[in-house]
């Protein structure tokens, strides 16, 4: 028994020592050692080199009380303000010039980049572990963050390119035929007004490219979109934070901006909405030319269906649909696809009677 107790005691001490030893060598300490070592060699003067030599390996943090943030990103990203590291690889790279207008001591890091500011291990800090609600915004996706504090018009074009492209893509793909954003659009699919607060860039990208794969049971069709389009739409959707107040008190984007992005062909619902918004002031009357062929492409039919060599390959080709289907069937089908074909994938588009008439007449010409 005494022998067993001795062995157990030695084993426990060994376990404690092993744990203590591995706790002493965290990932970030290695980055710091590499940085101070490199920095001494790159130093422009001996005073600079001395300064690097006297720095301690320790956790660094930026505490921004008004934003309730503690950002420890600079524990690994030590060179964000070091001009000697302009060409170095991450995590030891100089930040872009944006840091001059956004001094870290006032804003921290996560206000723009998201991520888990208090964390000091790579995956958790970048919000890239399962269940994280703060996945980091990488590359062009970070544009979504500029938008949360600044009005679109005050930003340089380079800071809004993805968002503008996303708005255009959302128009082209007729997303608001099913989805709603800030009261505009239809309620077939989920409301996207606050989608940016619930989903991260990766989830949105994946869903846009292949909805059923991301969310089984999704009735959203697979649109033949490019990765660039998906990225742009994702960045736009990430700016949709609902009624959540902006992260700080910088002027929020102007309210009218969002309504001006939807072009006039969308539907007459929009003019109704604008009438309501303008509150008694005479709003411009929107004229809609019910041209079936134009509507076919404008309403998004062409995203899934093909006529000749044009259009998508998700639904059946409609090149000769006029020979196959009759007027009444087409009309019933377009007014409610699932009533005619309960198992079909065609979404309800909520077309009005005049739009259905125009589309059916156009489809019957395809022979």
């Amino acid at each position: 028994m005494k022998l067993a107790l001795t062995i157990l005691s030695i084993a426990l001490v060994a376990v404690l020592l092993a744990i203590a030893w591995s706790e002493e060598n965290p990932e970030w300490a290695n980055y710091q050692r590499v940085y101070f070592d490199l920095a001494q060699r790159r130093a422009q003067s001996s005073t600079q080199a001395d300064w690097y030599r006297t720095q301690r390996v320790e956790i660094r943090q930026i505490s921004v009380a008004p934003l309730k943030r503690v950002d420890r990103c600079t524990t690994c990203h030590l060179a964000v303000a070091d001009p000697n590291f302009a060409d170095a690889p991450e995590p030891l790279r100089l930040h872009s010039a944006l840091l001059q207008s956004h001094p870290p001591e006032r804003f921290g890091c996560t206000v723009c980049h998201r991520g888990e500011g208090r964390a000091v291990t790579t995956l958790t800090a970048h919000g890239e572990v399962p269940g994280s609600s703060v996945r980091m915004l990488r590359g062009e996706y970070v544009q979504a963050a500029c938008y949360l504090c600044h009005a679109e018009k005050t930003l340089p074009p380079a800071a809004t390119s993805e968002i503008v492209a996303g708005e255009i893509a959302i128009n082209q793909l007729r997303c608001l035929r099913c989805h709603q954003i800030d009261g505009m659009g239809e309620s077939e699919g989920p409301d996207l007004s606050a989608i940016g607060s619930r989903r991260d860039a990766l989830e949105l990208d994946a869903h846009l490219l292949n909805p059923p794969a991301m969310n089984s049971g999704s009735t959203m069709p697979i649109f033949p979109i490019t990765r660039a389009q998906a990225q742009a739409i994702t960045v736009y959707l990430l700016t949709q934070q609902g009624d959540a107040p902006p992260a700080n008190d910088v002027r929020y984007r102007s309210a009218n901006f969002r309504f001006s992005i939807f072009d006039f062909r969308l539907s007459d619902r929009k003019s109704k909405f604008e009438n309501r918004k303008s509150d008694g002031v005479l709003a411009p009357i929107v004229f809609f030319r019910y041209d079936g062929q134009q509507l076919f492409w404008a309403a998004g039919c062409g995203v899934c269906h093909r006529i000749g060599n044009e259009g998508g390959a998700v639904g059946p080709a409609l090149t000769r649909i006029g020979r196959v289907r009759e007027r009444d069937w087409l009309r019933r089908y377009l007014s409610d696809p699932s009533a005619v074909r309960p198992d079909g994938r065609m979404p309800q588009l909520y077309l009005n009677d005049r739009e259905i008439d125009a589309l059916v007449e156009f489809l019957l010409t395809l022979r």
């Binding site: 107790l5 157990l8 376990v15 744990i19 309730k68 503690v70 208090r118 964390a119 969310n215």
Partner: protein, 388 residues
Amino acid sequence: MGLRENLAQLPRHFADSFFRSAAFTGARRQAALVANTWFLHIHPARMHPYSLRVTFTFGLGVFAFWLFVILSATGILLMFYYIPTTDAAYATMQDLIFVVPFGRLIRNAHRWTAEGMVVVVALHLARVFFTGGYKPPREFNWLVGVGLLLLTLALSFTGYLLPWDQLAYWAITVGTSIAAYFPLFGDLLRALLLGGETVTEQTLIRFYVLHVVLLPFLLALLIGYHFWRIRKDGGLARPRALPTTENVLSYPRVLQIELAILLALLIVFLPLAYRFDAPLGAPADATHPPNPAKAPWYFVGVQELVSYSAVWGGVVAPVLLFIALLFLPYLDRDPRGVGAWFAPERKGMVAAGSVILLALVAVTIIGALLRGPNWAFYWPWEGWPGPK
């Protein structure tokens, strides 16, 4: 007796003054060592060798006690950092994990030993049931044991909320909703626990005080009583036919075994705590309920029963089980088969207990692992969309 000699004799005099057994020699000294020392006198001076058989008790009671000691130690360390406010709670968890030296290890150890204690206490209860250890004269200590089980569950449940992450927030929301199914006082019970209608900062401070003051105090008190009753009830239950003359001295054998169990526990749990992180979800967010939202795993069986029927599953079944546990030693007083595993004389009781235990394990596994969004059933190989 000069100063020099007193200095030379200091270690021996100190030991004598502490152990208070210098007047005896041999076996009497070993017995006095236990009986005259406050820390050891909870043990009997001599024990029946049958009680020391590993395959009889598996040491589960001692395991549970040491787990409580480890939990108290790690819990006090955590208290030095933890701030029970909705603004700071989650941030202090992150600071513990990322900044506090060994903070992550201490938090993980606290979490895994807490889950371990629920399991070990439940196994201990099953051991006493299947060996007939609750029969006269040990009826009342069985009741104390049931109280210890309930306190263990309450401690685990109140601790579950403290990280203030999504897992915590929604598990407590679901758990307290189950409490509200009880007739008459269900809503009152929930309101008392929550300090309102929903989980708020009021709930956090209530759970914190329960978790670090009231419940541990009650548990420590009941543990002492439980141990004292074991001695007063004549030691562990054993077959009547055994002779009582072959008792062995507790010192040093029993103390060595107990110490070995503590060392073994630490050797198992410390690397486990170092390697596997206790779960920490996104910060609590009352506007984004996860789907499915699940109670802590030891209550998920009740949640599964509630999904069949709120009244039968949420009230009748748990209350019947609780009443059965309370009245068991007063209704089943047949002395045959005491002190033996699955004694053939107790065929009926063993069968009934096994069915209930297996049913509890089954509904817990179904609820914890096989229920997806909207509490729909999924086989393990199917998986479901979204987070587990």
